[in-house]
């Protein structure tokens, strides 16, 4: 399919004096899996939050699935949000709800499914992430990796066209990192999703992406095929992929 599912043009965002995004432009073609690299605090989360309307940029344009996000009314924005999935860095599971309730919450609220259909969808989503046995557990009873999986199951349960991942593997050990990354890759293929993942984890990026950009000081410094970027002779990239990424991901 031709066309871009996401088009971001000249995005600017500042908090008071602090300029976080300074003219970021990104296109994501339908079916593409984009990884956005950047050190901690470069504005990766801010970028994702602007895309879903959690933050309002100072300037620029964001188009998702043909809709201009910044000009939508809240109602229209919510309509669009129903077709988006967002995996938060902390998984953001609702503490007061069981795993089952966490997953059925968006279904009950936004769609007109019968209880039977909801149960089936919940079970299927949990089965996909290998956590069907945890269906009646509370979030506090789950490990970090399990929470991420439940968060993943919750965001894919509505079968979104576009998935956004905020550091899907940060804070996880290398083995879990690989497991989660492979799970993300497989789900994306299976559900034919387009995705944007922000991360500073090279392992995760290599598993889930075909295309990468590097965000630095509010701008996109590099874009291209991930392998090319990692093999580049450019001093900045060399430094970025050798030291920081690994230190940040696994703690030195």
């Amino acid at each position: 399919m031709a066309g871009n599912l996401v088009e971001i043009k000249d995005l600017h965002k500042r908090f008071g004096e602090q300029v976080v995004l300074n003219g970021v432009s990104i296109d994501v073609a339908e079916g593409q899996n984009l990884v956005v690299f950047g050190k901690s605090g470069t504005g990766k989360s801010v970028l994702l939050k602007c895309m879903v309307g959690l933050l309002v940029p100072d300037q620029g344009d964001i188009t998702i699935a043909g809709e201009k996000v910044l000009t939508l009314s809240l109602k229209e924005l919510n309509e669009l949000r129903k077709h988006l999935g967002f995996l938060f860095q902390s998984a953001a599971l609702y503490d007061s709800m069981s795993v089952r309730e966490n997953l059925s919450f968006p279904l009950i609220r936004n769609f007109n499914f019968t209880q039977g259909e909801i149960d089936k969808k919940v079970e299927r989503a949990l089965d996909r992430v290998g956590l069907l046995f945890a269906i009646d557990k509370m979030p506090s009873e789950l490990s970090g990796g399990m929470r991420k999986r439940v968060g993943l199951a919750r965001s894919i349960i509505t079968e979104p066209k576009l998935m956004l991942y905020d550091e899907p593997t940060t804070g996880l050990d290398p083995i879990t990192t690989k497991e989660i990354s492979k799970l993300i890759r497989d789900l994306q293929a299976e559900l034919k999703m387009t995705s944007v993942a922000v991360t500073h984890d090279l392992i995760c990026a290599q598993i889930i992406s075909d295309y990468a950009i590097v965000l630095h000081e509010g701008n996109i410094r590099y874009r291209g095929d991930l392998t090319q970027l990692t093999l580049s002779d450019d001093p900045f990239l060399k430094n970025f992929f050798s030291s920081e990424v690994f230190e940040d991901s696994y703690g030195s």
Partner: protein, 264 residues
Amino acid sequence: MQKKSSLEINKAKLLNFFSQIGGMTEFNILFLKNVFKPPYEIGEISKHMYELGVKTFPIVSITGIIIGLVLTLQSQPIMAKFGAEFYLPYTVTLSVVRELGPVITALIFAGRVSSGIGAELGSMRVTEQIDAMEVSAINPFRYLVVTRIIATSIILPILTIYVDALAIIGGWFGSYLTSNTTWDLYYSQVIEVLKFGDIIPGVGKTIVFGYIVGLVGSYMGYFADKGTEGVGKASTNSVVVASLLIIIFDMILVKITLLLWPVT
């Protein structure tokens, strides 16, 4: 419109007390805009009411008895000195129903509930649960805040009536200890003095106090700063601000009450 995202209003609003009042006023308007729109979340509201009731029931029960008892024990010698011991049930009942019952219950409620709501919503903010709701096209304000404010506004008056009743019983117990008053006599005196004009404003103002507790706790939690200190701060600030506002509004409401229902 989504022009003012919830994440952004917050930082500046926490800068000083007056901007906090401004923020709370804005929050208040947002509540009024949302409260009459369906879905009404009856399930959530009942759940909160039940939890709030269970959480505060033991402490207000003890307090209720003790207010009446202590008030009687303190006043009895003074009243006796002036030969007015006979009026003890009247003064105790009126003090309790008009003022002490509502205010003390509200302050306890603020300490217990406002901090709880502040911490609960604060941790939901910090762990991005509120963002997650918003991204799932669910209005977190309506689901989390409106339901809590409604619950606190309903449950506090109920608790207050209960505390008033216990305090009157406590008052009798005090009278019994000091002057051997029988329940029947005490009760008949209470009934004689107690008018709707005392009960309605006393209980009525606790709707306002309950509203304050829910609003302040929700506001502090909803706009909590990132990080774990943010949650603690939200919780503490909730109690301080809610208690202060309760006392200020009590003064205002007493003034209004005395105009509308003069003591006869």
